[in-house]
């Protein structure tokens, strides 16, 4: 009953990249010399610390794989739309690329954190340079992902008159303002403190504002706008069965974007470079990662339902 199925190539390719990056990360945990020693976790030997780090990383690795799977599934759906000669094909393809970049940013950030931990034991200059590099890499990949998602969603929704509700749009702007003001306050107070060592970003204030703070605020604005537009579009789109599947994707996208904003928010206002600690910060970070995993899962599930419609 399944007619002319499109090959699973894109999912396989995306998952392969995810598995390879996961293996690199696990190898770094076990084989890269650990300079944080076990001071952060009392009474643990170096190998016990590495084992604990590995176990704590397992849920995160699962989230990465789900994220790559979701990107692959949306890519396959785009292929079906291409075969159906629809005009939205390039836009859905762009969405898949945006999701892929978000998926890619997760293991890349974790791998860089491992290297940071490694450099900590060497020259201070190298360590500071690696912190600056990590901060930019953590920013750039999700930023490009958000930009691609924004242009994709804007293209998809522009084909239909949405008639957005003013009240919910105002709420979105209010939410953005609260997040933006809180974020600016929390990050900039590191610079205004009298303590010279409190500049955890190792950047001059102006450079930090222009190259870290403003790009994050821009990414969050377009991220929230994309999530809102996509949810609204899914609500207004015709087709009882089609709408349900699209709404699952839109909900997943909203969860992913909000969890990424939360991840970026907490990782920049209180940066922790490469150390494993069991505290409220780590628990919250793990929870946000799991929530993002749920978002990616919803996206994959929604994409699978849409693929099914195109396959039968």
């Amino acid at each position: 009953m399944l007619m002319g199925r499109i090959s699973r190539g894109p999912t396989f390719k995306a998952l392969t990249i995810g598995v390879l990056l996961s293996l690199v990360y696990v190898a770094l945990i076990f084989f890269l010399p650990d300079h944080s020693n076990s001071a952060h976790l009392d009474n643990l030997s170096s190998s016990q610390y590495k084992q604990a780090l590995f176990l704590v990383s397992l849920p995160a690795i699962l989230v990465w794989l789900i994220a790559f799977y979701a990107a692959g599934r949306i890519r396959i759906y785009a292929h079906y739309l291409e075969r159906g000669k629809t005009t939205v094909f390039p836009l859905v393809s762009l969405l898949a690329k945006g999701i892929f970049l978000l998926a890619l940013s997760l293991p890349i950030a974790a791998i860089l954190n491992r290297f940071l931990n490694f450099f900590e034991g060497y020259s201070t200059d190298v360590y500071h340079a690696s912190i600056i590099t990590t901060n930019y890499v953590n920013l750039i990949l999700p930023l490009f992902g958000f930009v691609l998602i924004y242009y994709s969603v804007r293209g998809i929704t522009s084909k239909k008159k949405l008639d957005l509700k003013l009240t919910s749009a105002k709420l979105l702007v209010a939410l953005y303002l609260v997040i933006g003001i809180l974020y600016s306050y929390e990050t900039l107070r590191h610079f205004t403190s009298n303590n010279a060592g409190s500049n955890v970003y190792y950047l001059p204030t102006a450079v930090f504002i222009l190259t870290i703070l403003l790009p994050y605020l821009y990414a969050w604005y377009i991220g929230l706008a994309s999530a809102y537009d996509m949810l609204f579009y899914a609500k207004k789109t015709p087709g009882i069965i089609f709408k349900r599947s699209l709404y699952v994707i839109a909900s997943g996208l909203a969860v992913v974007i909000i969890s990424f904003i939360a991840m970026q928010y907490f990782s920049t206002i209180d940066p922790a470079y490469g150390h494993l600690e069991f505290n409220s910060r780590e628990i919250m970070s793990a929870l946000i990662k799991l929530i993002s995993g749920l978002g990616f899962y919803l996206m994959a599930r929604g994409a699978n339902k849409l693929i099914r419609i195109e396959e039968v």
């Binding site: 939205v88 087709g239 069965i241 419609i309």
Partner: protein, 90 residues
């Protein structure tokens, strides 16, 4: 279908399907006609709908868990080929 003068059987079928499958409706209907009836989709007749509706019922059952929706959809298609019930003259 709004605005279409003298809609064909194909137009009516796509219009009904649009309520359930939205933008995927025409692609879905084209596939079903080509694969099960081996015909040019635009040339289907009311007689073709009888066997097509059976196929569609099975296939929509694969993509939708809600049997009420599947029944509602196929009943709408049946209305296209079943004779309209005569009204009792009082």
């Amino acid at each position: 279908m709004p605005g279409v003068k003298n809609p064909t059987t194909y137009d009516r079928l796509v219009a009904i399907t649009h309520v359930y499958l939205g933008p995927a409706a025409d692609r879905f209907i084209n596939r079903q006609i080509e694969n099960h009836l081996h015909k040019d989709p635009k040339t289907i007749t009311k007689e073709d709908l009888r066997s097509l509706s059976d196929w569609i019922k099975v296939i929509v059952g694969l993509i939708c868990d809600d049997q009420d929706i599947v029944e509602e959809y196929t009943n709408e298609i049946r209305k296209l080929y079943l004779p309209k019930p005569k009204r009792n003259k009082i």
